[in-house]
């Protein structure tokens, strides 16, 4: 079973549907016992970092996510869920993340050329920066995925498995051992996205 962590942020309907569609057994849950019993965990998220991090902590599920990740269970953070895997974010202040991957979340503004629109909204191409990331075993370089974001993960290249070109290389996916993250939305990225979710679920 794949546990989708429900900590009161955003809409988990499409994510749940996408996992059902690929035949993965998925449960939307805010129960720590479900996370412990799961074969893999997905941490979703939309909105602002501060609010989401506060809700995750308030629910007490932050510790459950970290505990399960440390036990070696596959964890996938999606969009803001990916950003929360890092140490801290500079979105409207400075806020602590879960610290599972070294690095920080910083604005696209000032990093990408000024004429580009922020947020980056739309389909952009994946460019693999490492070979053989198990998350992308069904994909090829240049596959398009759907992004909606104004901040990005700035971290050691060792943790970046794919980036995307938005006037500058922008972190698209990260991995550190059993912990994975996608800045884009696999549940909204058509067949390519479904294959990424399938690859993740197969790790569990």
């Amino acid at each position: 079973m794949v546990a989708i962590v429900d900590y009161g942020v955003g809409n988990l309907f499409s994510l749940k549907c996408s996992l059902d569609y690929i035949g993965a057994k998925a449960a939307v849950t805010s129960d720590e016992a479900d996370l412990d019993a799961a074969d893999a965990v997905i941490l979703p998220g939309v909105g602002a970092f501060r609010d989401a991090a506060a809700k995750l902590r308030g629910s007490g599920l932050d510790k459950a996510v970290v505990k399960n990740a440390r036990s070696g269970k596959p964890l996938l953070g999606i969009c803001l869920g990916m950003q929360m895997l890092f140490e801290k974010s500079y979105e409207y202040g400075i806020y602590d993340g879960l610290g599972l991957i070294p690095g920080e979340i910083v604005p696209l503004a000032g990093y990408v050329p000024a004429e580009l629109k922020i947020p980056q909204i739309g389909w952009n191409a994946l460019r693999f920066t490492q070979e053989d990331c198990p998350l992308f075993k069904y994909n090829k370089n240049g596959d398009h995925v759907y992004f909606v974001h104004s901040y990005y993960a700035k971290c050691d290249g060792a943790y970046i498995v794919a980036d995307t070109e938005y006037g500058a290389p922008v972190t698209a996916a990260v991995a550190k051992d059993n912990v994975f993250g996608c800045q884009f939305h696999p549940e909204k990225s058509g067949e390519v996205g479904l294959s990424i979710l399938k690859a993740f679920c197969e790790m569990g």
């Binding site: 809409n11 309907f13 569609y21 939309v46 602002a48 629109k117 947020p119 389909w123 909204k188 058509g190």
Partner: protein, 252 residues
Amino acid sequence: MITKRIIPCLDVKDGRVVKGVNFGGLNDVSSPVELAEYYNKSGADELVFYDITASAEGRKLFIDILTETASKVFIPLTVGGGINTVADFDRVLKCGADKVSVNSGAIRNPNLIDEAAKRYGDQCVVISADVKRVDGVFRVFAKGGRENTGMEAVGWIKSCVERGAGEVVLNSIDTDGVKRGFDLEMLAAVCDAVNVPVIASGGAGKKDDFITLFRTLPKVDAGLAASIFHFGEVDIKDLKTALRNAGIEVRL
């Protein structure tokens, strides 16, 4: 680089696609779910469902359709039509919509944009504007293009973006249905005024109209159309291939 998006728009009334559909292998399909699946397979980058139902039963059907589509089609879904309150946002977002487009609802109560953007994020709120030239000035029209609000369009759209709208759909009433190309002059005026994605709507009649759109106005992010896709005059896969051959980046 980020690709240009091609977006078919489905007008839904009482659970069916208005006007029906007629093209190769898909004769008279009026099921929005079936059509959404077809467009997804042919490479649409996003779908817009526009609810033009007036009745309560129709609204219920619309929600059922949205739910079923979201469980079968995994690309972004935008919903518009009859969005007047934050509760309306909530109703469609829960059923799988990713973005919600507001038009007359925002004209009646511009604070709707602020409230929705605060609750769901800017990326979720799309301002859709029906615009027509009146004595040489771009004016915003309400109620499906029937009523001149008297508001100057570029200023109105800019104010909506300042309130938190994360995307603009600009529908030119002047070019809508004429099929001689998008309203480049109107689009240029809006693109110069805002720095969020702008979706062009109204006037596409053939593939070349999209090529001209993106070549002339590189700041336009997407092209939206309805009947030319529904009636098979333009096939989305062919269109995207033609765009790529013209040097415009698309997802294929």
